[in-house]
Amino acid sequence: MATGKVRVVHYLNQFFGGLGGEEKADIGPQVIEGVTGPGRAIQNALAERGEVIATAVCGDNYIGEKPEEAAAEIIELIRSYRPDVIIAGPAFEAGRFGVACGAVGKAAQEKLGIPAIAGMYRENPGVELYHKDIYIISTGNTVRVMNEAITGMVSLAMKLAAGERPGKPVEDGYFPRGTVVNELADRTGAERVVSMLLQKLGGESFETEVIQPQFYTISPAPKVEDLASAKVALVTDGGLVPAGNPDGLESSDATKYGKYSIEGIESLDPENYEVRHGGYDTVFIRKNPNRLVPVDIMRELEKKKVIGKLHQYYYATTGVATKIENAKWMGQEIARQLKEDGVSAVILTST
């Protein structure tokens, strides 16, 4: 960064950019010289440290329909202003605007090599989509907290523009970006767990260091009405792969799955399979892989016409210390392929 003021480009939607309400949500990208709308508060917070040199504005629907293309258009419009940093929003609870801030921020980082800071309420869908890509300051849910939000965004923007390493999420107010770091606490785990118990027993307030995750609720699929005509697939997270592990499936923290043909196979031969899984005792499965992926029994049921047909592929991944985001896309992708292949029922075996 050259000496002097930090050059800031600000991104807003049609509403905050003063172009109009919902009726203007289809409007394409444009640039306003200098500040507009909430940009004034940004300029105030920057004071002598920086200058909002331009404001990019785009309709929420326009960018919502094709976020990557629209963000690329916006980047081309602001390139000539040579910004040092881009500040997007704050979008508070506005979902489409939040997603747009994320898309524009990410594009600015990638295409201009400058840091991007947005501000959103934690339930804004833009947080889930972009918190790993850009710094998103955690804000309240309405414009009433505008000044507070902008103070946080500007302060982090100044740090990033100066090439400083941001503080912890809690210090700088941003959503964690998907990295887990082991730090040193002031006391050992033993000291902390006993002292927390004493606080709890004494009726004092205490602060847990660990939280329980909020999992998605997944409704079970409806019952298979006609098993005798169903095409049934076998899917496992027990890590069974053909000998030699052709896809290099990991034995923990899996990032992939395998799809393997069982066409014409009556029973899985232990010679032809191996197990990649660090979370259970695999000795029984190595002796008889059918006990994890029950091809032998399924063939019997197929012959007895209890089921219509066994699907010609089985799918396997490794379910141990596997990240939820990976499990989620793998599950979605496997389900999509199974549906495409006309599979109507799945037996999932876990370990």
């Binding site: 006391r187 006993v194 118990l197 027993l201 329980q212």
Partner: protein
């Protein structure tokens, strides 16, 4: 039950003609110790190597670490059951060579299945800074399986060799005036129940063995045998400190040294009679399936409530996912019966999409379980960059000498399931 731990401090270890301790120097008659360990027909080619802090030495393939301890006078036997003798522990006096550690390094044939021991200790540099055993004077015990000895028999024999070596070395400190005497004294429950009624009674629920993997049959974990088939039971804290329990073979983030110096037992002892009343330790294993872990949780929580009359409980786990469920369910049961709980855990895997500032558990929907301490995660950064070693102790293929970026979890003792580190997992 009263135990006096007579601590003799060790600052250097060396080979000599006679095994003795003088001015903090532990001298070892190598041939005598090897002869003692080779009496076990399951072992051959026993080797002893020494590593002092500051040397550019790396110890590899570590399966356990043990503090040299020996019982004094007629106050009991060492590791009853494991060392083939009957006896009790937890009372009388025990000599400890503080600052020394017996390190077991595993021999392994390429055809041996099962998990390979991968833990290392560096005696210098960045590796020594993050684990506790870079600053102890280490006596490394290595041995090969003799003849037809099976891998499982070998593992038990190696562990017993380590325990024998630990006793043999500590006996050299037996006649000396100790540098420190630590006193551990808690009477029977009936006595202190009338004595200290005003203080809250606290128990520790200590998971020792995970059943995620088939337990090593005959591993002398509790008084000479493994605990794969036990329901939770109550031990006096002194039994834990004095050798009733050894770490299950090749445990993850727990070793016998840590159990002998159990940080949570120590911490509860420190508060005993002041802010709480330490009413005993409940030990358990961690089953790998729901019906069994419900059974374990029920028995453990009932012992806490109805046998010990606990007002509070501290819980830890010993492995990954299933043990965390067992711990959480036990805590939930305790809370439902009015026992306040806190838990300390190593996160074995973490969801990186989570936007909470705090690291999370693998279990959910247990609102009663509301007080937890993070002890870091093996999956977290940063890695430590080790320097090249001048000497490697342990069965090496040569590659271990190199310096390399290494996950902190590879350093023996750097992570602890029982509260022996200051690590905390933080999201960025």
């Amino acid at each position: 039950m009263k135990l006096e731990l007579k601590v003799v401090k060790i600052s250097n270890v060396r080979f000599a003609d006679k095994t003795s301790v003088e001015n903090g120097v532990l001298s070892i008659d190598r041939e005598e110790l090897i002869g003692l360990l080779e009496k076990d027909a399951r072992l051959e080619a026993v080797e002893i190597e020494l590593a002092n802090p500051g040397e550019k030495t790396r110890i590899i393939r570590i399966v356990d670490v043990i503090e040299p301890r020996a019982k004094l006078g007629n106050s009991g036997q060492e590791y009853p059951g494991a060392l083939d003798r009957l006896g009790t522990v937890g009372r009388g006096s025990t000599c400890a060579l503080r600052g020394a550690a017996v390190v077991l390094s595993e021999y392994r044939r390429s055809q041996d299945r099962g998990r390979a021991a991968t833990g290392i200790i560096d005696m210098w540099g960045p590796g020594a800074e993050i684990g506790p055993f870079g600053s102890t004077c280490n006596i490394v015990v290595m041995a090969s399986p003799a003849g037809e000895t099976t891998p499982d028999e070998y593992r038990i024999a190696l562990k017993i060799a380590g325990l024998k070596a630990a006793v043999y070395l500590a006996e050299a400190g037996a006649g000396l005036t100790p540098d420190e005497v630590e006193v551990y004294n808690i009477p029977s429950l009936v006595e202190f129940a009338s004595d200290m009624r005003v203080l809250p009674r606290v128990t520790y629920v200590f998971q020792v063995l995970t059943l995620q993997f088939k337990p090593l049959e005959g591993d002398p974990v509790l008084y000479g045998n493994n605990i794969g088939a036990i329901v939770p039971t109550v031990l006096h804290p002194n039994e834990i400190l004095d050798g009733a329990i050894t770490a299950p073979y090749s445990s993850t983030f727990m070793d016998t040294y840590g159990i002998q110096n159990h940080p949570i037992v120590h911490e509860l002892y420190k508060e005993h009679g002041k802010s709480l009343n330490f009413c005993g330790v409940i030990i358990s294993n961690a089953p790998n399936n729901a019906p069994e872990y419900e059974r374990t949780a029920t028995v453990a929580a009932n012992l806490a409530k109805w046998a010990l009359g606990a007002d509070g409980a501290v819980l830890t786990k010993c492995g990954g996912g299933a043990p965390e469920m067992v711990m959480a369910r036990t805590a939930q049961r305790c809370e439902q019966m009015g026992i306040k709980t806190t838990l300390a855990l190593l996160h074995m895997g973490l969801d990186t999409t989570e936007i909470s500032l705090k690291a999370s558990t693998i279990f959910s929907d247990m609102p009663e379980v509301d007080a937890m301490v993070s002890m870091g995660t093996p999956a977290g950064s940063p890695a430590v960059t080790l320097e090249p070693a001048e000497r490697v102790i342990g069965m090496s293929d040569g590659s271990e000498r190199r310096g390399a970026a290494t996950q902190a979890r590879q350093i023996r003792g750097a992570m602890s399931q029982i509260g022996d580190s200051r690590l905390i997992a933080v999201r960025y």
